[in-house]
Symmetry: C2
DNA sequence: CGGCGCGGTCAAATCGATTCGACATGCGCT
DNA sequence: AGCGCATGTCGAATCGATTTGACCGCGCCG
């Protein structure tokens, strides 16, 4: 059991030789399915254990098969930021699970810092049978372009459909509309919006109609549209990422210094639960009662025990299912099925953070 | 630009043929380093773009090289649980970064639900040049055993050293001792401990000396030892995972019903920041002031904006650096260097959650 | 003017497996 | 007894690249 150098690692050929059979027969023995007598198979296995051979070398098998068994998962940012959002984590979980049933592995591909057209080198060179673009594609997406050049089949989560690629979407627009309708029914008229990022750049602050019209990122665009299906927000605040601190900063401005108290928004709808949680914390810090003074609605349906005693009113999404669907879409593509797209339903679940609008 | 079936995907041989050169020359052209005239190279590149060839097939290259360019990262649990802890996310981030510099990719390998000896199929069959066991190894670890059988070099984070494998550890014991010493210096004598899991099983509740002695998981064991280097806790509460809700549950018991108020612990030291945050929330819910009535110290040094206005007193660890060191260790192994281990320093950073022990 | 060396190109071996078609054996059936 | 078929085994081709060593022609130097 000493250390072995790569060069003396046993191969199928050596096993076959030792077992006194041909390489093909040895291969058949390991594949398990071919026609082979039990004795021959045992002979091969015995030789294998003698030599310390633990099964076919994946590299050889992959080359022959023309498949790597690897699915590239493009998370669009550095892990520390992408996974700071529990939403991404749950989707990934479903994805890993679904792919695991087919013995497919997940190769993590981070986004890049670089300029406009920069893509991670893995996109260009890594072996993968399918790539999953979890957070959709931009209108001119260098990552998508590189994958298409390489003929790597693609599965898209969220947003814009790509020719020949299955799309797994959520009913963002309807869900956002539902959340705002809930607020309107409670009597709110001055509703502020805290939004997800609009595009590549990192910006934060209030936005005007012009910038809104140029938003280029998919959950953002759909959720903004859904909100506007019901009401026009009194203000829209862009954030650089779905993180508690950004929601807190935005709400501190919106509820604090932005307008005189008499014109203060009575409700905030945020594009994500983390942003909404930040808004709740900001309201607490400003001495505002929730929901008596201000209502807050989120989006995602996360379980946030640390927000206790408040429970967010939120639009629940089947996040894990989104992951499993993405995985199944990838598997389907490998099986040669025609790409089919789905849009998963979402639904409002009221919590303790929304209530009737204050009178006057 | 129509769809191509795998069979008519261009190969280096076809490019060479079209360019009127040999395969070896074409290969040289793409490798970039070989001796070749600019004209020949351009001829090859022109033929390549004609055919839509985007570079050597990774599978062929990998087989020849004997390297897959993939590092398996064993996270020891399902992603939704492993990555719910920001600690894991930061380590992963450093790891991905470090490996990215060498164009190595991260293959995510989850833990399994199954019985004692179950391992993820990827462990047995996936191609990987090195495996990183981020959260250490158990005393009898089926994952480690499977990897050793396959001759996959291993890098270990945390805990027990493995023969021939670099170990990247943190000075857990000293850090834990420092945290408790801080509490003792503040006058605390009744100190409770909320601990990380002891082993595979999911248990929660107070533990006795016998169970403590049988703990088999590395950060847990070291942190317990460090605490006991300074003081014996009045109670140790085991939790099934490093999550806010478990810390909250534990602290609710410890500070609430467990003993009469006069004997209530005046300080809690938790093995992680998420557990500590849960304890802070529990204290708030019980109407206890922090730090006047109860002090809470954590471990990890996370940034937890949602705990505002409190800032945890915590032992800061270089988590991202742990990740980069793990990555560098893997790279070193691939380069044939002798495995070397490191232990990274940690340090107490006082926040607002610890203060002098209440008098009486 | 001849030989040496070097830059550039190429043929062939190699990485480790899978799989197709051929082949040998033995059995059953007429 | 002879034919055909099923069963099990094997040889050889193949997947797509990298790399070594041979080879060739040309320029430079003695």
């Amino acid at each position: 059991m000493g250390r072995r150098t790569p060069s003396n690692r046993p191969t199928l050929a050596r096993v076959a030789e030792r077992a006194g059979v041909s390489v093909s027969t040895a291969s058949l023995a390991f594949s398990g399915s071919g026609p082979i007598t039990p004795e021959t198979r045992d002979k091969v296995f015995a030789a294998a254990t003698d030599l310390g051979y633990t099964g076919p070398n994946p590299l050889g098998r992959q080359l022959r098969r023309g498949r790597s068994g690897i699915i590239g998962v493009v998370i669009g940012d550095h892990p520390r930021r992408a996974f700071r959002d529990p939403v991404a984590v749950q989707v990934l979980d479903g994805l890993v699970d679904a792919l695991g049933t087919e013995k497919l592995g997940v190769l993590l591909i981070p986004g890049v810092d670089g300029g406009e057209d920069a893509v991670d080198p893995l996109i260009e060179t890594a072996a993968m049978d399918v790539a999953v673009l979890v957070w959709g594609v931009l209108t001119k997406d260098p990552t998508l372009a590189a994958l298409q050049r390489r003929d790597v089949p693609v599965v898209v989560g969220e947003g814009r459909a790509v020719e020949g690629a299955p799309l797994v979407a959520l009913e963002d627009r309807a869900g956002a509309a539902e959340a705002v309708r809930h607020l309107v029914e409670l009597g709110h008229t001055r509703i502020a919006e805290i939004s997800l990022p609009f595009g590549r750049g990192e910006r934060s602050g209030p936005v005007d109609a012009d910038r809104i019209s140029r938003a280029d990122r998919t959950p953002t665009v759909h959720r903004m549209a859904g909100i506007r299906d019901v009401v026009e927000p009194v203000i829209t605040w862009e954030t650089p990422a779905s993180l508690v601190e950004h929601g807190r900063d935005a709400a501190t401005e919106i509820l604090g210094t932005w307008v005189p108290a008499s014109e203060r928004p009575t409700a905030i709808v945020a594009h994500s639960d983390l942003l909404a949680a930040g808004a709740v914390i900001a309201a607490r810090e400003l001495g505002l009662r929730i929901p008596e003074d201000v209502s807050v609605a989120g989006f995602d349906g996360l379980d946030l025990p640390w927000l206790s005693p408040d429970v967010l009113t939120s639009v629940h999404q089947p996040l894990r299912e989104k992951g499993t669907r993405l995985g199944q879409a990838a598997i389907g593509l490998l099986a040669g099925e025609e790409p089919t797209s789905v849009s998963l339903p979402v639904g409002l679940v009221p919590g303790t953070t929304t209530g009737p609008a204050p009178v006057g």
